[in-house]
Every structure is written in structure tokens, then in C-alpha cells.
């Protein structure tokens, strides 16, 4: 089943190259909807318990202990669902935005889908690395070919940044496998094997963790590794921004949850490392918000807001309480939905006015009431208004983090004010204020296609805000397992030292 999830979009990408250009988008939409249909049953068949499910594990390169191993647990389940949920919307949202080389664009989108899903379901470090790179290349082209004016700079920056991190990660993976093999005599890239047979890494663990940390921190992105994000977001086409924010950033936090922290708990829980990461997360929250506040470009503002949101996630992961980890998982989902919707809206505004500048708008709520209403709701979700999804996640993170780091959580709570300080003024300058530009007087309101893109997201915003239990119930065992394993092995290692 998970294999079908990876194989189908890759296959569909090839198929897409065979169909005439004018059908490309429809075929891509159908393919991505089919993908969602493949993934959706996981929601019901997933058993809310710890451990991996829907596993498949066959040898791939036996000489080196490389296997094709996939599976999902509560942590990755919702990232898989979120990915398959956002891709059809992104395709639909690109219908009028992408007008050149459509076949190539949609084929890359599907290839990207395969890569993203591969990252989330891989249970073999080699496979994980391969998928990590697979997803990198289509995104590079999506930004570099269909992006804005400064697209090449942004695309190369994105690529080099991520590639830099991922090469370090590759070194760390190889070193980890080698050191483990040295101790046990078995060469294996298997996640489960490496987890159950931790090598006596000693001081090397710091360096390996550092390499993983860089790879994932760049992806998250944590301050000060974040500057690729605004450029990439601004230049990328709408669908690219949505998937970049919605899914790709989550790979960083997912990497911490799945690999970096469980492999090296003694490092992750080292007081100095803890302090450093919590401080960086806080800097991300406050700094990202403050810088977002003064952005003249709407997409850049959203990009910096992502830095702030992901700072909450990092805080939640490191606080290591059930509430905070659950909240972090929720924020990962919520950020995909809310920020995805914001990028869709920014794209829709851009299509109407051919400007991303906040100053180009003003007072348009009178002209486009529907768009204004949706934008208001989505912004409110992004600043964490109670009874929307944004609140539930951030509240849980802060509540949980407060048990571990009271001061940090209090400062992070200040980020809630900053969130209102950057989004509300922007909202005001876009849809409120005098309607003083004649170009804005005849903007068309949302079309049915655009509504079809936004309504599922809006529905999720309200649903998760009011009744998050179905999600929390499915993620709880995995979150619990994560916390317990990290705490237990850290304790064991400290005791054994």
C-alpha cells in the first residue's frame, strides 16, 4: 500500500509525458486525486498503537545491508495524509497560474509527491537519503523554471542549502552504519536495527548529531539557517510555495522526531544542546515574527511567519512532554493547512493584480468579500485564534513546554502577540483601509475553482480547531513511544557512561 503511494505518482509522472499538453493538468489532477484515494484508507485502517504499521521490508542491495523498508506510525501517518491532501489542491490551484510547459510542471509535481511520500515512509536510512534527494530535484526545477523574476538565485540557494545539509547527513548515516557494524559485525541501514543496536559512539555522537542537526535545521528552517526560505517562497510558483511550506519544512521536524533525537538521545538531552536548541527556537519565534511584521511583500511575510511557527514545533519537540510533542505534531499539520491556504490566497491575489506587494492592495474587502472572508479566517487560524486549528496546536505546545521550560514557554507565549502584530496589520492593509487604487476596483471575486481549492482547507481549519481528537488519538501512542524511548535510552546511556 505504501509502495503504491510512492510508485503511483512516479508512474503517473511518466504517463503525463505521453498525454497532450492541454490535458496535462486534468490528468495530473486525476492522478493526484487517485493518490489521495489510495492514502485515505490509512485513516481508518491505522490502528492507534505504537510501532510501525503497513510495513514492507525486502532486500534491495543485500551486500551492503540496504533494504527497501517502508512503514508508517502515528508521526508519519498524518504527514502522508497531509501530503496527499495538499497535492491535488496544489494542482488545482495551478490551473491558471502555470501557463508554460505545463506537462513538465505537472510531471515534476507528481515526481515531487513520490519523493515527499518516500521521505515520510522510509524505514531504511539509505532509502531515506535517496528519497530526500529525489524530492529536492523537482522542487529545484519548479522554482527555477516557473518561478518569479529572481528565480535562479532562489532555486540555487535552496538547492545548495539543502544539499549541503543532506551531504553532511549522508556522511553521518555512513558513519553511524560503519560504527554500528564495527561493534556488531552486521552492516545494516535498517532503521529498526540501528535503533535497537546503538553503537558505542562516545564523543563521535556529538558530531553525528551535529550533521543530522544541520541537515534538518536547514530544512525546518531554524534561525540562522532560514534565509533560503523567504527567497524560495517568494520566487516559487503558488503550488511550489504551498508544498514547500506545507510539506518540505515538515521534513526537518520529522527528521528530528524520527532520526536525530532517537538516535542520539544523550546528545539531544545534553543540557548545552538543549539550551542551544530551545534558544534558537525562541529566536525563531520572536525574530521570525518581528521580521515578518516589516515585510512589504505578502509572500515574504508568510515565509517569515513559517520560521515562527516551526520555532514552536521545535520547542514542542524538545520539551519532551506528551502535550508538547502532540502539539508539535498538530502544529506540523496545521501549519501545512493554514500556511498552505495563505499561500494559495497570496497566489490568487497575485493572479489578480500581478503584484505580491501588500501596498498594491487596500480596501478590497468591498470588491471581493468572499476572498476577504476566507483570508480573514485563514489569518486568524494562523495567529492561533481559539476554536481554529492554530490555537489547539500552539496551546498544547506551550502548555507542555511550560512543564519543562517555564521561562522559554512564557517567552514563546509572547510570540502569540507578535503573530497578531504581523498578520493583522497586513490583513488590514490588504483588505481593509480605503479603496484608493483604481486598479483594485474591478477585481473579480473567487471563482468556483478557487473556492474548491480553499474550502477543504477552511473545513480542516474549523474541524481541527473544534474536534482534534481523531488526530490526537492516532498520534498519541507514537508520541508517547518517542518520549519514553528517548528518555529511557538517554537515562541508560548516562548511567552506563
Amino acid at each position: 500500500m505504501l509502495t503504491a503511494l510512492i510508485a503511483w505518482p512516479a508512474l503517473a509522472a511518466l504517463l503525463l509525458l505521453l498525454v497532450p499538453t492541454r490535458w496535462a493538468k486534468h490528468v495530473a489532477l486525476a492522478a493526484s486525486l487517485a493518490e489521495f484515494a489510495i492514502a485515505l484508507p490509512l485513516w481508518w485502517t491505522f490502528v492507534p498503537a505504537g510501532g510501525m504499521q503497513f510495513q514492507l521490508d525486502v532486500p534491495w542491495i543485500p551486500a551492503w545491508g540496504i533494504r527497501y523498508a517502508v512503514g508508517v506510525d502515528g508521526i508519519s501517518l498524518f504527514l502522508v495524509l497531509l501530503t496527499t491532501f495538499l497535492v491535488p489542491l496544489s494542482v488545482l490551484g495551478s490551473y491558471s497560474y502555470i501557463t508554460t510547459r505545463e506537462r513538465g510542471f505537472y510531471a515534476l509535481m507528481l515526481l515531487l509527491t513520490a519523493g515527499m511520500l518516500g521521505v515520510f515512509v522510509s524505514l531504511d536510512l539509505f532509502l531515506f537519503y535517496v528519497m530526500w534527494e529525489v524530492m529536492l530535484i523537482p522542487m529545484y526545477f519548479i522554482i527555477g523554471v516557473w518561478g518569479g523574476e529572481n528565480r535562479l538565485y532562489a532555486a540555487i540557494k535552496f538547492f545548495v542549502y539543502t544539499f549541503f545539509g543532506s551531504l553532511l547527513m549522508l556522511v553521518a548515516i555512513l558513519a553511524l552504519v560503519y560504527l554500528t557494524a564495527q561493534r556488531t559485525g552486521v552492516i545494516s541501514f535498517s532503521y529498526a536495527y540501528l535503533m535497537t543496536n546503538p553503537g558505542a559512539l562516545g564523543p563521535v555522537a556529538f558530531w553525528l548529531f551535529g550533521a543530522f542537526f544541520l541537515a534538518f535545521a536547514i530544512k525546518v528552517p531554524m534561525f540562522p539557517f532560514h534565509t533560503w526560505l523567504p527567497d524560495a517562497h517568494v520566487e516559487a510558483p503558488t503550488a511550489g510555495s504551498v508544498l514547500l511550506a506545507g510539506i518540505l519544512l515538515k521534513m526537518g521536524t520529522y527528521g528530528f522526531l524520527r532520526f536525530a533525537v532517537p538516535f542520539f538521545p544523550q546528545v539531544a538531552l545534553h543540557p548545552a544542546v538543549q539550551t542551544a536548541i530551545v534558544v534558537l527556537a525562541l529566536v525563531g519565534i520572536i525574530y521570525g515574527g518581528l521580521v515578518a511584521m516589516v515585510q512589504p511583500d505578502f509572500k515574504k511575510l508568510i515565509a517569515y511567519s513559517s520560521v515562527a511557527h516551526l520555532g514552536f514545533v521545535m520547542l514542542g519537540i524538545w520539551a519532551l512532554t506528551l502535550q508538547s510533542v502532540q502539539g508539535a505534531l498538530l502544529v506540523m499539520i496545521n501549519h501545512g493547512i493554514s500556511t498552505g491556504a495563505l499561500f494559495f490566497l497570496a497566489g490568487m491575489l497575485y493572479e489578480r493584480r500581478h503584484s505580491r506587494m501588500i501596498a498594491a492592495f487596500g480596501g478590497i474587502a468591498r470588491v471581493v468579500p468572499l476572498l476577504a472572508a476566507v483570508l480573514t479566517l485563514v489569518s486568524l487560524s494562523s495567529i492561533g485564534l481559539p476554536a481554529t486549528n492554530g490555537f489547539v496546536g500552539e496551546f498544547l505546545i506551550l502548555l507542555g513546554a511550560f512543564r519543562t521550560y517555564p521561562v522559554a514557554a512564557t517567552i514563546a507565549a509572547g510570540g502569540v502577540i507578535v503573530a497578531a502584530m504581523y498578520l493583522l496589520p497586513a490583513l488590514q492593509r490588504v483588505i481593509y483601509n480605503p479603496l484608493d487604487k483604481p486598479e483594485n476596483e474591478r477585481l473579480p471575486d473567487l471563482t468556483p475553482r478557487e473556492l474548491a481549492v480553499l474550502l477543504p482547507l477552511v473545513a480542516c481549519i474549523v474541524w481541527i480547531g473544534v474536534y482534534p481528537k481523531p488526530i490526537l488519538r492516532r498520534t498519541e501512542p507514537a508520541a508517547l513511544q518517542f518520549i519514553q524511548s528517548v528518555r529511557a535510552s538517554a537515562a541508560a546511556m548516562t548511567a552506563g557512561r
Partner: protein, 659 residues
């Protein structure tokens, strides 16, 4: 039968929510359907009032007065945190839902007339319904997080309704300011929740309050911190020092909104919260003193500003801040019933005052509209003598003015008197309360003065509206005066809710609230005063009020006023008051601008663009290019040079191998 009415408690908030959904849909699809919108908008409020009344009656029949908690679904079930989406009806929330739905229904009705010609009619009622929904969630929530849903939700509606005429920048700015200032307070609320959860392991009201006494040593640092953080939330929502500045700006919204949200209901949420958490505050004497002190100080401070405002709504806004200060003085003193009593009576007479002001503005606006004049329809200098044109409004507003000044036997007299007596009595135990009491008395004097000033300038003396416009001034239609009359009745009779034994009353509200306040009262017993002292206090308060009114009548000369556009600028102390003690300017210079400057000039342009991106990111690119350049110098392009290097290399390797 009573049981089933209590089971229908969810209907109370659900009805306004349904109204919001329906009106919102109409606003987006058929904004012209005014009849349907009015029917839905007012109808759901009346039904909600009926449902609330039914539930309260059913509740009153239950013995004991224990809170009834209705759990609907698990909202945040995470490990040891179990938050249900649950509503709780107890005697305190019973009072609140009746006030909210009752006064709310009257104000909805008034809005039908006031907003009749507005193109955003449907949107207006959608927001108003949504506000009532969130307000009911706030007062009915059975746990801190559910209450917080309402707490932030009302802030949202306030934001939307202040900026209702969003095409004027000043309105949108005011809405934004309200939201952000409220958010600062909300963080206090959040942190208080985190502390409570860490200490007690629960966020349900029932659990927290029953565990409080066992968990927190009285006067301890933890409980003091919790209550102070909670109170920070209250200062935001209820516009107390230092977070009061948003409320006067909030007057940019439609006047019925000011009446409903910024006078009668939302701004009282902080008082409700302190009363709800009475047990916690009783355990923290320092925090209680802060609450009472901030309340007394705000009461006095806002009253001074109200003295010199010309905008009729701004006078009322500062008056609201001042009256809220009284309520905090009450609940901070531990006189929860008195605070809630003043909350209720204040919602009657202040709603009446605001709606009356709305009626005046409505008339002024129409007059200026008809004559195409561009004068300010809210400036009292453009009014005067309106009692001839608006007799109903004038007489009803006089009732409210006398009530807020504290003249017997109107509602405000009883409630204000109780608060001041309680504060004075507390002085016997903690002398600082004498200072609070004195501030309260001084504020009462100013209150009587500025309210009389408002009435004089608006309704008496010669008319300054302008020759042409004067003919167009007329009384509002019955949908607007009807609610005024109803509120006037409540203002006259509302004091009966809680007449103190001094006047032969039975303090009905006090006894009704007893199950809620009992725990706090045990921790912080009220101080009894002798009959003679009480009489002296009452007479003194009445004398002060009368002095204020008479002083205003004597000192102020409505005849000397000129219309706003001809008026000379203020000077001296008057200017300082008119400029609101320059607090907005201070905040702007000390907080807003530095933060903006820091974000733009330092964080973004220097740290982000120069340091991280310029130095580190592009810097590493430059460094690697420079390294490449050094290497490239070796490549001369001459094959001969390469061969020389090659041979040298081979010889070197050979040499190394031989050795």
C-alpha cells in the same frame, strides 16, 4: 421538565452561532435581504434569551445551587490533560447569560433601526450574533480553555465590529489596536493557565477551585503570580491601566456595538473572571490589593480624561473604563456580589447611555447628511438644545446619568454604594484600602460632573448644529426608542436586585451568588461595618454625587460654546486632559516605534539581510569562489607549464617512494 431545559443549555450559545452562520451566508450571497437578516438576527437572540431564562429557572429549582456541567465532547485529550468541550451553569454564569442575552436582544433590536440604511447590514448582524455566541461561551465555559475560546472570540468580534466601516483607515486601525492590546492581556491569561495546570494538574473550574486551597499556601509566590497573570488578562479585556488605551479608540465602531461590546458585556469579562476565580484571588492578598488598587486608580484616572472630551462617545468610553475600575475595586476587595451587581446595573445604564448617544448621533448624522454638511456628528460642540428634538432620548438619558452618578433610588446608587462601603470596611483590616476608597469617592465626584456636562452640552442651551441641519433633527423610530425605554425601566428598578439591609432589603443577588462566592468568602471574610458608619458613607456618597451635578450645572455655560470648527484649541491642563494625558503618544514613542524600528532596521535589514544572508550565506559563496580563483591561477593554459608541474610531481612521488 426542568431537567430537559437544562439539557438544552447548549441551545443558548448555539442559537446565536446559527444566526451567525445564516446571516454570514446571507451577507456573502444576498446582502440586500434585510428583512430576513433582521428576523434571524434579532430572533435568535430572543430565542437564546428564552432558552437562557428557561435554563436558569430550571437550575434555580435544583437544590443546593451546585454547578451543572454539561459535557459535549472531548476537546483536548492529551495524556493527563483532559479538556472537555463543556458548559457550566452556576449562579454566576446564570446572571451573566441573562444579562448578555437580555441586554443583547435589546441592542440587536435597536440596531435594526440604527443600521437600517447601511450596505453592510447582513454582515453587521452576522458579527453581532457571533459576538453573542462567543460571549456566551466565555461565561458558560466549564474550564479555562473553553472560557478562553470565548475570551479571544469576543476580542475577534470586537476587532471585526470596531473596524466595521473598514474603508476608513482610522476604523481599521482602531480594530487592530484593540485586538493586539487584548492579545497582550491574553498572554497573561495563557501563562496563568500553564501555571495552574502545572500546579493542579487540571484546567476544569471545578477541579482547580476545589484543589486550590490544598495546593497553594495562602499568600504564596505561585498563587500570587497566577492571579497577577490572570489579572493581566483582565486589564486587557476590561480596559484597565495599563492596557486601557484601545477602548476609547474602539468607539470607531457603530454605536450599538459600543453599547453591547464596549460597555455592557465584553469589557466586563475581566470582572467576571476575577469573580469566577475568587478563590484564587482570596488566596493571594497581594494580587487582590493590586486588583483593587488598579481598579480604583483606573476609575479616577479615566474620569479625569472624561472631563475634557468633546466626542460624546469618548466621554462614555472613559466613563466605562472608570466604572469598570469600580467593579475591579469591588471584586478585588472580595465583595464579589457587589462587583457583579455593579456589572449588571452598569450594563443597564451604560447601554442606555450609549444607545441614547446612538440615537443622538443617528439624528445628527441624518441632519448633516440631508444638508450635505461635513461636520462631526459626534462632537458635543455641534449639539446643544437637543431636548426639544429628542425628548424621549433626553429624559431617558437623564435617568441613566443620575443612575451612574449614584443618586438614590436608581440602580447605580445601590451597586456603587456597596462597592465603596466594602472598600471602606476593608480599610479597617488593610489601611491601603482607605486610599482606594478615597479614589473611588473622588472618581464619583468627577463622574457626576462629566456626565452632567455631557447632558448639558448635548441637550441644553442653544442649538449649534447649524441653521439648515436643525430642521432635519428628529426623534428615532420606535425600534430604537423601544429598547431605550426598556433599559430605562431596568435602570430605575435594577437596584432592587440587591438592596442592602440598610434600606430594608434582602440582598437577593448576594444570597443568590453565595454558593459561588462562599469558598472565597471563607478565606477572606467580609468586614462588617456599624449601621452608623454605613449611613454616614451612604450620605457622604450621595452628597458627593449631588455636589458633582450641582457643580457642573453651576460652572458650565453651554451658551458659551461654539461649534467644533470654530472652537479655539485647548490650553493648559485642559489640553493635557483632552490629549488623554498623552498616554497614547507615550506608548507609541516607548513601545510601538522602537519595536518597529528594531524589526525593520536592525533585525531585517542588518541581521537578516546583511549578517545572515550577506555575511554568512553569500559570504561563504564568495569565499569558495575566492579559493577557486587562487587555484585557477595555477592554470596558465600553457601545456608546457603543466608538464613541468607533472614531472616535478612524478619526481617527488618517486623520491618519496625511494626514500
Amino acid at each position: 421538565m426542568p431537567g430537559s431545559l437544562l439539557d438544552a443549555l447548549w441551545l443558548v450559545p448555539a442559537l446565536p452561532l446559527a444566526g451567525f452562520v445564516l446571516n454570514g451566508a446571507l451577507a456573502l450571497t444576498r446582502p440586500g435581504a434585510k428583512r430576513a437578516v433582521s428576523l434571524i438576527g434579532v430572533g435568535v437572540l430572543l430565542l437564546a434569551f428564552a432558552a437562557a431564562a428557561g435554563a436558569v429557572v430550571a437550575f434555580a429549582r435544583l437544590p443546593g445551587g451546585e454547578p451543572v456541567v454539561q459535557r459535549y465532547w472531548e476537546w483536548l485529550p492529551v495524556g493527563d490533560l483532559q479538556v472537555h468541550f463543556a458548559l457550566q451553569l452556576d449562579r454566576l454564569s446564570a446572571v451573566m447569560i441573562l444579562v448578555v442575552t437580555g441586554v443583547g436582544a435589546l441592542i440587536h433590536l435597536f440596531s435594526v433601526g440604527y443600521m437600517h440604511d447601511d450596505p453592510g447590514y447582513a454582515r453587521y448582524f452576522a458579527y453581532l450574533n457571533l459576538f453573542v455566541f462567543f460571549m456566551l461561551m466565555l461565561v458558560l465555559g466549564a474550564s479555562f480553555p473553553v472560557m478562553f475560546v470565548g475570551w479571544e472570540g469576543v476580542g475577534l468580534c470586537s476587532y471585526l465590529l470596531i473596524g466595521f466601516w473598514f474603508n476608513e483607515q482610522i476604523n481599521a486601525d482602531a480594530g487592530k489596536k484593540a485586538f493586539i492590546v487584548n492579545r497582550i492581556g491574553d498572554v497573561g491569561f495563557l501563562v496563568a493557565m500553564f501555571l495552574l495546570f502545572r500546579a493542579t494538574g487540571s484546567l476544569d473550574f471545578g477541579d482547580v477551585f476545589s484543589r486550590a486551597a490544598g495546593t497553594f499556601p495562602p499568600g504564596g509566590a505561585l498563587i500570587t503570580a497566577i492571579t497577577l497573570f490572570l489579572f493581566l488578562g483582565c486589564t486587557g479585556k476590561s480596559a484597565q491601566i495599563p492596557l486601557y488605551t484601545w477602548l476609547p479608540d474602539a468607539m470607531q465602531g457603530p454605536t450599538p456595538v459600543s453599547a453591547l461590546i464596549h460597555a455592557a458585556t465584553m469589557v466586563t469579562a475581566g470582572v467576571y473572571l476575577v469573580a469566577r476565580c475568587g478563590v484564587l484571588f482570596a488566596l493571594a492578598p497581594v494580587a487582590s490589593a493590586v486588583v483593587a488598587g488598579v481598579g480604583a486608580l483606573t476609575a479616577l484616572f479615566a474620569a479625569t480624561i472624561a472631563l475634557k472630551q468633546w466626542d460624546i462617545k469618548r466621554v462614555l468610553a472613559y466613563s466605562t473604563i472608570s466604572q469598570l475600575g469600580y467593579m475591579f475595586l469591588g471584586v478585588g476587595t472580595g465583595a464579589h456580589a457587589a462587583g457583579i451587581f455593579h456589572l449588571a446595573t452598569h450594563s443597564f445604564f451604560k447601554a442606555l447611555l450609549f444607545l441614547g448617544a446612538g440615537s443622538v448621533i443617528h439624528a445628527m448624522h441624518h441632519a448633516y447628511h440631508a444638508t450635505h454638511a461635513h461636520d462631526d456628528a459626534q462632537d458635543m460642540r455641534n449639539m446643544g438644545g437637543l431636548r426639544h428634538q429628542l425628548p424621549w432620548t433626553a429624559s431617558l438619558m437623564w435617568i441613566a446619568t443620575l443612575a451612574i452618578s449614584g443618586l438614590p433610588p436608581l440602580a447605580g446608587f445601590f451597586s456603587k454604594d456597596e462597592i465603596l462601603s466594602a472598600a471602606f470596611a476593608q480599610g479597617a483590616v488593610r489601611p491601603i484600602w482607605y486610599a482606594f476608597w478615597a479614589m473611588g469617592i473622588a472618581a464619583a465626584l468627577l463622574t457626576a460632573f462629566y456626565m452632567t456636562r455631557l447632558m448639558l452640552y448635548t441637550f441644553h442651551g442653544a442649538n449649534r448644529t447649524g441653521e439648515g441641519a436643525r430642521a432635519h433633527l428628529h426623534e428615532a423610530p420606535w425600534v430604537m426608542t423601544g429598547p431605550l425605554v426598556a433599559l430605562g425601566g431596568l435602570t430605575l428598578a435594577g437596584g432592587a436586585l440587591n438592596v442592602s439591609p440598610l434600606f430594608g432589603g434582602g440582598t437577593w443577588l448576594h444570597r443568590w451568588l453565595e454558593p459561588v462566592t462562599a469558598a472565597a468568602d471563607r478565606l477572606q471574610p467580609a468586614v462588617e461595618l456599624s449601621r452608623a458608619t454605613e449611613w454616614a458613607l451612604v450620605l457622604g456618597a450621595v452628597a458627593v454625587a449631588a455636589l458633582g451635578i450641582v457643580g457642573a450645572l453651576r460652572l458650565l455655560k453651554p451658551e458659551a460654546l461654539v461649534p467644533a470648527r470654530l472652537a479655539p484649541p485647548e490650553t493648559g491642563l485642559g489640553r493635557v486632559l483632552w490629549k488623554k494625558w498623552y498616554v497614547d503618544e507615550l506608548y507609541d514613542a516607548v513601545l510601538v516605534r522602537p519595536v518597529m524600528w528594531l524589526s525593520r532596521e536592525v533585525l531585517w535589514k542588518v541581521v537578516d539581510a546583511r549578517l545572515v544572508d550577506g555575511l554568512l550565506v553569500n559570504g561563504s559563496a564568495v569565499a569558495s569562489r575566492a579559493l577557486g580563483w587562487v587555484g585557477s591561477r595555477l592554470q596558465t593554459g600553457e601545456v608546457g607549464f603543466y608538464v613541468v608541474l607533472f614531472v616535478i610531481g612524478v619526481l617527488a612521488v618517486l623520491g618519496a617512494a625511494v626514500r
